[in-house]
Symmetry: none
Subunit: 280 residues, 2 copies
């Protein structure tokens, strides 16, 4: 009983699999062709369903699904299904695929190159994520709120400080009055004591949240000063005391995050506010 089907290595990503299916579609037996057509037409079903449910939809037996997967070098149906799931995960950020292509050369790459590519990919994903997460209406409300403020207080400590410092720089250029809170010790609270309900605040804080930022935001909110915030989780203490808040999930590489997406958001907010003021 000589094994004809030499052990082929299965496709590693969805596109390769798709190409392989299309290529062999003609030479496949009837039922397997049926599965092939169904798989390419209903990839989402394959990703989420169970073998039994998919088999029913495609009008074949579960065992046929297994045979189909084995035709393409997988151990069983589950291995093939993983590729369909991965596709769904990465559809938003196709950069994962690009990165994996980069990493395939990876053995020969210097570690610094791997790290660099990782941060580039993370930046892309982060920007995609914030583009999807920010609701235009909420953004517009936040802009209006801040544009109407006499002075905008920018609250940020530690990791988020670079963002607010860039906003302060840009506001300066744009002739929008703002006050950076979070620089050096002590004077912060005195500064904030001067804020009135005619003003507004923009607070930024990422996990692990600096307790002063949250406390300051809460204090301002309690005094009737509207707070807009940028944070990385709905569980942030900032979320609950803000009129409007936005979530930015900076993808990380090896546990470190760049601020790429936050920076883009911050500049969009800054310029939008200035523009709204200019127009009256």
């Amino acid at each position: 009983m000589s094994e004809i089907t030499a052990k082929i290595t299965p496709p590693q990503d969805f596109d390769t699999l798709r190409a392989a299916i299309l290529e062999r579609k003609g030479e496949l037996p009837k039922r397997l062709t049926q599965v092939a057509a169904y798989a390419l037409d209903n990839p989402d079903e394959i990703a989420f369903g169970t073998a039994a449910s998919i088999a029913q939809s495609a009008d074949v037996q579960p065992s046929t699904l297994v045979r189909f997967a084995q035709q393409f070098g997988f151990d069983g149906f589950s291995g093939l299904q993983l590729l369909f799931r991965a596709r769904l995960r990465e559809r938003t950020s196709s950069y994962e695929e690009r990165l994996r292509a980069l990493e395939q050369d990876g053995a020969a790459l210097a570690e610094s190159t791997t790290i660099f590519n990782g941060f580039i990919a993370a930046a892309h994903r982060s920007v995609d994520a914030i583009a999807a997460a920010v609701e235009p209406d909420a953004f517009e409300r936040a802009v209006t709120l801040l544009a109407n403020a006499a002075t905008i207080y920018l609250i940020a400590k530690r990791r988020s400080y670079p963002i607010s410092s860039y906003m302060a720089y840009a506001f300066g250029k744009l002739k929008v009055r703002c006050q950076l809170v979070g620089t050096s010790a002590g004077i912060d609270d005195d500064l904030l004591a001067m804020a009135t309900p005619d003003d507004a605040a923009f607070a930024i804080s990422f996990s692990p949240y600096a307790s002063e930022s949250a406390a300051q935001a809460r204090t301002l909110a309690a005094r009737g000063i509207p707070v807009v915030s940028l944070t990385d989780s709905a569980f942030s203490p900032l979320a609950e005391c803000s009129r409007e808040w936005f979530e930015v999930v900076e993808a990380d590489h090896a546990g470190f995050r760049s601020l790429s997406a936050s920076m883009a958001f911050a500049m969009a907010l800054t310029v939008s506010i200035a523009e709204k003021r200019r127009r009256g």
Copy 2:
């Protein structure tokens, strides 16, 4: 044994569930709060994983996941998981709609939305540009140079200051000695006078170039201290006095630039340096 938990009907869609979780996050026990945070921060994991794998990631027991789901009226964990899957199915289409709206450019859109989309697109382009522009070998050389320095001096003024300030923050966490130059008036030159050829400098400057940054970099270079720089043009005064220099062209929107690509580069450099040191 009177049943207290009257049979509540579970949320029917993801947004409702999300709202319910946020609403009750305060009154939930510790482990369930942990699950709540994990679920909202890693929805994709919930959608695809098995109860066991998710439990491990979230650092709880599988049974806790079931209890969590039951808190919100589901029979078990599987019912809750369905909502996370449905969300993923729908997200793809809504994200594509968003991109289409982005390209249609603005008829009915609020101005802030146009600006926001513009900065998102600019961030994408910038990151692509720097990924293409940075040569791995040069990057590796720069990392080596800076990793060997006793103290790393970070020179940046104005627009580039937020980047160096984030690097300084990260270096602090990573236990890499560095000195931020460019904060307040006067003391800069005194600081730099202490630098020796065992040290190194990383300078950042974008057009219009702050004259002090260029002058400081030149002075250091003349004293035999290696300088690495990040700038936006080959004509930058920094380029000529640097051992290694990198070009980042931040795409702009309406004349304003975010620092998205520079931030990604800076973090890649920072982490690479720390990693190289750690490995000896």
